[in-house]
Amino acid sequence: MAALLEIENFYGGYEGVAVVRDLTLSVTAGEVVALLGPNGAGKTTTMLSTSGLLPIIKGDIRVFGETVKKRAPHKIARAGLAHVPEDRSLFFQLTVAENLRLGAAKGSADIAQALHYFPALEPLMGRKAGLLSGGEQQMLAMGRALTTNPKLLIVDEMSLGLAPIIVERLLPVLRTVADKTGAGVLLIEQHVDLALGIADRAYVLSHGDLVLQDDAAHLRANRHLLEASYLGGSSE
């Protein structure tokens, strides 16, 4: 089965300086993949390049089999990629309902779908997104991404600034989406245990290099591998 996302010998960064070096990664349909690593490892950089917001320095990223090089971000999004960025990129001046409507190409059916996953948004539909709490904003960002019926969903650290108890409730939604719709999911997460709990596979980046890739179950069973990779040691 062809991968939805193929990252091949990818070098990415800012103004020609590579932050991520020689990364190879893939996500297939129905799969949840975690991208782990300490701060500054290059996880967000990889995602920005995937959705076309950052130019690729070397190597290639293919979404649904087509390269993202020189493609405008909105065209990649229209092909079926949904990116929930770190800053959530909500439209603060628009209401929750309007934010959701912007994602929904087919209209109310998609919105109902999103509300099914995040029923807490229901009573907030008429409120401006800027007035939501952090957790509610994150639900809206995820809900909005889901209204686009994505074939590939990439989520950048949705736990940022949220209490662990909220993250525990939000993360499993990604697993459900992957199982139900067959979408591929790539997520960046700092709550390693929670992420490994729902992921099929995981990649660990450190200082821009891929230091570890393995099945999530195997990593859960062998914590020392992860700890070694985070602390900069070898995986042996």
């Binding site: 628009l94 912007l102 939604v173």
Partner: protein
Amino acid sequence: MAVSDEAPAAEVDFAPEIKPLRRRTLPASFQSRLLGGIGIAILLRILLDSELRLKFLTGASLTQGALVAAIALGVVLTYRGSGVVNFATGATAMYTAYVYTGLRVEGKLFLPPLPNPFAIVEGVAHHLDDKSTLRLPRWPTFIDFGGHLTLVSSLLMALVFCVLFGLVLHGLIFRPLRHAPPLAKVVASVGVLLFLQAVIVRRYGTSARSTYLNVGTPKQLTLPFSIRLTVDQVIVIVMVISITLLLWALFRFTRFGLATRAAAENEKGAMLLGFSPEFLAGTNWVLSTVISGLLGVLVAGNQASVDPVAITLLVIPALSVALVGGLNSFGITTAAAFALAASQALIGFLQNRTWYPKAAGAPIPGVAQLLPFLLIVGVLFLRGKSLPTRGAVASGRLPFATNPSLRSTRVVAPIAVAACAVALMFFATPNGRLAIFTSLIGIVISLSFVVITGYVGQISLAQMMLAGISGFTLSKLTGDGIHLYGHTVIPKIPFPLNALVGALFAMGIGLLVALPALRVRGVNLAIVTFAFAISMNEFLFKNPGVSGGFKGASVKIIGPLDPLKTATVGRGKGANVWFGMFLLVVVVLLCSMIVNLRRSGTGRRLLATRSNERAAAAAGVDVAATKRTAFAIASFVAGLGGALVGFRLGSVNQLYFGDTNSLAVLAFAYLGGIACISGAVTAGMLVPSGIVFTILQTVFKVPSEFTLLLGGLALIVTAIMNPEGIAGGFNAKLRERKRARSGESVVAAHAGGGH
């Protein structure tokens, strides 16, 4: 798996509501309902009185309202589409009306005088004074269609022009500026305004042109309630109302409208949802130019003539009504435009009543112009919050406000001052000395922008008005003092003191300007202050009691400093060297005062307020007091500038402190670099008839009509290429180089001390 309703999201990520600094006495909803009620009561009173109704709803007032509405709709569209408050919307309507008139009346499409690649060659040839040997090809100024065109084809061509112009504005100017601070966008749009106006003045002159080909008596219709309109007027009014409805439907029912608002706020978010921000913004720009252009053509045709100023300045009432609609609602905007224009017509009628206040026997001027200002202040003051609310869109950063280095204060500045003094004493011709005078005064006025806009981030377009307050006060103080109802309020005051008192007057009015600034920010503040400036100009400066009527308002300085006298030193006659020295001393004093301000605790509070009001308040800065301080200092400086203008010209007049100059001084201050002293100095050199333009005119023989044209163009280019202004950009380069050098040494130190 779904996140349940019981998720304690709200408790965990609890956001404390920030209490407003000052409690309101009445809830806002009650206040606005009360005002609405009063408005409706006044409206009913007018509509029920048949005489008042006929003066209220005249054909002229309604077509004027239609044009204001169209310009306001253009403003709202571009604001919603790209976050730009376009001061040039009125100028666009005016320019299109000229394009149409040219085609319809003469069958000629005029071209802007720039860019002519031969101009440089010509300039050099002029300089060598060897015109006979050079035969330059003429750059076409008109495309001739041989005789006037039909109504339909000239209208179509005018609209095609609008489409192209909208694309140019979007693609070449505002698209590159999309991440620039709001001030850069304002300045660029002012640049467009000045450029369009200058092109028209260059091609057709300043006088009004007839737009009619064959004037027939327009057919009158009598509508219900005995309102009389011509067919053309009805067409214009119906057209504006239907455009409003169409826009409302477009933004209400289509994803295009929603996506437009989304993309204007967060481009990245819109892109990630599959919308092209470029397409959305471009479409809205084109819609905006087409609507304002179309109505510009129709109303100009209706009013039988068009001139470069009137329609251009309709952008002020248009901005006011757009603000009433919250830069958001098309319906409210259009309704407010009609109401405003009708009320202004009614004031014109009521002027002849006996109870109407008089000044020197004539009804006091400017009340109609005061109306949009009062409207804006009322609406914004009710809506504004003393601190930005949560979720309010943060405005972009402003240029870096450098703390002047020791080298620049101890080496560069003394050299510059000495060079200026030597030039005044020995080298400059009388004309050159006049240019130096103008530039030194330009520096003073630009310094007031450095404090108010550069340091505390408030965009004020009222600085020229404040200068005017001081100038007119000074003229009274050098005359026979200020009298009110036969009593002497302030007697005549001798020379150096009178300028200070004038500046103090400006400071008092400046604190009045600061009142709206406590609740209104960003571009909205620019609109408020501009409306304030215009209404003061109409209301005070045109008032014969202030301006001295036909005698004018003369300003005298003591004999030895009289700028028109000839001094014992200096080349040629006239343009007193000692007046220049006096200006130089004032400039040096003010510059050192502002350098000290920047370095003091007050300066840090100003900058803290500029960068984030909420954060500054949280850190213990009294935001309101800081803003008031900044306004007081800036208006005092502007007031001194106004006094110097009075001394320099020997009199003051309302033209000098008027609308175009208010825009131009901000524009030139920005062009120089708005956040640093060196920027103010650069700006002073660049002001019209200052040093740079005088050199361009005398050495390169660039005609003087090109001043504003080149200035407008330079503004647009600077805003795009160099959002920090000329001096700011230069400083940024210096910083970068310094950082590169120290960066290398840091890396080296790391390598040396590594493990």
